[in-house]
């Protein structure tokens, strides 16, 4: 009986792994098959020219740059907010404090809110301040979306840091600031994972930027200009009736995937190097 149980679970585990892997591979296969033929140097080095969406010349550089701008600034802003929040939750408040528990619950709820809601919320805030769809609006909305992701994933690591480490540094006469530096060093692998997750979530999200960042055929040169983004580029091209344009959507998807994969590997590589020793 025991043996049977074990076998069933083993099969279940292997089955799920294979299922997930094959879905991933199938997705990659589809975007490669449909996207690769349309992927050209023009595609990633030019902005759309007139009639691009009807199958004429041009590329999606506007969306690539727009997405990179959006995600870069959002990640920087979110880090500046999330790291102090995690420090406060873990090292200023007691581990079992009610406020900390309530805050964690709140972040979980925020984590679960669909991105379109952040988009809509960001949109109302923008209207209130009289802002139009712009890079700035997009950055704010994406930051709202990824801050809970970041806090929760850094928090997971921070929880594991023993109080001994805090006491060890403090007992050497370190000030709070110096203690925080040591903790941050210990947190680096967690922070890099958090950045990775947030980049993945933020860069691939269409709903948040739909109203807030808008869409444009040019590369934004200031915060108040609208910014294109890859998910929306995919969306608009895919809804075109021209088959060539549809295929370009897959090429754009391929570009997005490559960006995410590159960032993931880079982050892994650096976090491994960082966590090995000192900064």
């Amino acid at each position: 009986m025991k043996k049977l149980e074990e076998k069933i679970f083993k099969i279940l585990m292997i089955g799920s792994t294979v299922l997930i892997l094959s879905i991933l591979l199938y997705i990659l296969y589809v975007i490669m098959k449909k996207g690769l033929p349309s992927l050209s140097w023009d595609m990633i080095s030019k902005i759309p020219s007139g009639g691009f969406y009807l199958g004429k010349e041009g590329g999606i550089l506007n969306a690539i740059m727009g997405s990179l701008y959006l995600i870069f600034f959002s990640v920087v802003i979110s880090l500046m907010i999330s790291v102090p929040v995690v420090m406060y939750l873990n090292f200023t408040l007691r581990r079992k404090s009610k406020l900390a528990a309530f805050a964690r619950l709140t972040f979980d709820v925020l984590f679960g809110i669909p991105s379109i809601v952040y988009g809509a919320f960001g949109f109302t805030v923008m209207i209130y301040f009289g802002l139009q769809a712009s890079l700035l609006g997009g950055i704010i909305a994406i930051s709202l979306l990824i801050i809970p992701v970041m806090i929760r994933s850094i928090d997971e690591v921070a929880i594991l840091i023993p109080n001994d480490l805090v006491e060890a540094t403090k007992s050497l006469g370190a000030t709070n600031y110096e203690t925080i530096k040591v903790i941050t060093r210990q947190l680096l692998p967690g922070i890099s994972t958090a950045v990775l997750l947030s980049v993945g979530r933020g860069i691939g999200d269409a709903a948040t930027v739909l109203f807030t960042a808008g869409y444009t055929d040019s590369i934004p040169t200031s915060l108040t200009q609208p910014a294109a983004s890859l998910p929306l580029a995919i969306f608009f091209q895919l809804s075109s009736p021209v088959e060539e344009v549809q295929n370009r959507a897959y090429a754009a998807a391929l570009v997005l995937t490559i960006i995410i994969l590159t960032l993931s590997f880079a982050a892994r590589y650096f976090s491994r190097r960082l966590s090995k020793n000192k900064i």
């Binding site: 540094t169 006469g173 020793n277 000192k278």
Partner: protein, 274 residues
């Protein structure tokens, strides 16, 4: 509870204590100390003068407040909001719980050795010189000299001199504990606090640590919380016995172990309870 005044050393402070601060009292003196966590009375009216330049062991059954007392010495309770402390605690004649006392300079006077060694997330050498660095010592050569000196003092130099740059977490747990001691010594403290510093170590490593304590006790005032009576018997010069948050008896090791005055002490030492 009657306070057994610490023996002669307490009345004859060492020249160093005298010259450094003009303080005629022992390094650590506790006066009517009470500590409450939430509303539980954890430490009850503790009066204690820890003799300089010797090893004082605090013994007692678990939950008697040994560790709590030790942690009051360098204000490690500061971070916890529900701890309330009354009474006075003098370190070099300075009441460390007075309002305007600055905590980092009190802590700099004490090295703390925790139950489990806790190396900082950096290389071996950076661990040792972390303290000096944050207190403003600069210069590669100077820091290297400090590291070498302190690692030698804890007998770790020969073992690690070829891999000073590798992460401290790669050392064995016994080596890490010695590293932590070296790190503590590097800030040039006068006092060393050990919170069951050998309980997580294997017998050989813990013997090394004990021998280290013995070899440096003429330079430092050492206070150890220990769970093992045998360890206290091996290394203590003075012994404080605590029970249920009270200091029951304090005296020389010989006096407490061989001629305990209090019934509870006698029972505890003979293994009546633990």
């Amino acid at each position: 509870m009657e306070l057994m005044t610490a023996p002669s050393i307490a009345e004859q402070p060492t020249p160093k204590a005298k010259s450094s601060s003009g303080c005629l009292r022992p390094h650590i003196e506790v006066e009517n100390l009470n500590l409450y966590i939430q509303n539980n009375h954890i430490l009850k009216n503790i009066n204690l003068a820890i003799p300089d330049k010797s090893i004082t062991c605090i013994i007692g059954p678990s939950g008697c407040g040994k560790t709590t007392l030790l942690r009051t010495f360098n204000r490690l309770h500061d971070g916890s909001v529900d701890v309330k402390i009354t009474g006075k605690l003098f370190v070099d004649c300075e009441d460390i719980y007075a309002k305007d006392t600055e905590v980092t300079h009190i802590r700099k006077k004490m090295g703390l050795l925790a139950q489990r060694p806790c190396s900082l997330p950096m290389s071996i050498i950076d661990n040792v010189v972390y303290g000096p660095r944050i207190h403003g010592v600069r210069g590669k050569r100077k820091l290297y000299a400090i590291a070498r000196h302190q690692l030698n003092a804890v007998g770790l130099w020969e073992e690690v001199k070829d891999r000073l740059k590798s992460p401290a977490s790669k050392l064995s747990i016994g080596q890490q504990q010695r590293l932590c001691l070296a790190r503590g010594l590097a800030v040039e403290p006068e006092i060393i606090l050990g919170d069951e510093a050998t309980s997580a170590l294997d017998p050989i490593s813990s013997k090394t640590i004990e021998e280290l304590f013995l070899s440096i006790k003429d330079k430092y005032t050492i206070v150890l919380v220990t769970h093992t009576l045998r360890q206290a018997k091996r290394i203590a010069d003075y012994v404080a016995f605590m029970y249920m948050g009270e200091l029951i008896e304090f005296g020389t090791a010989d006096q407490v172990f061989n001629h305990p005055k209090h019934k509870l002490t006698k029972e505890y030492i003979s293994g009546g309870f633990s």
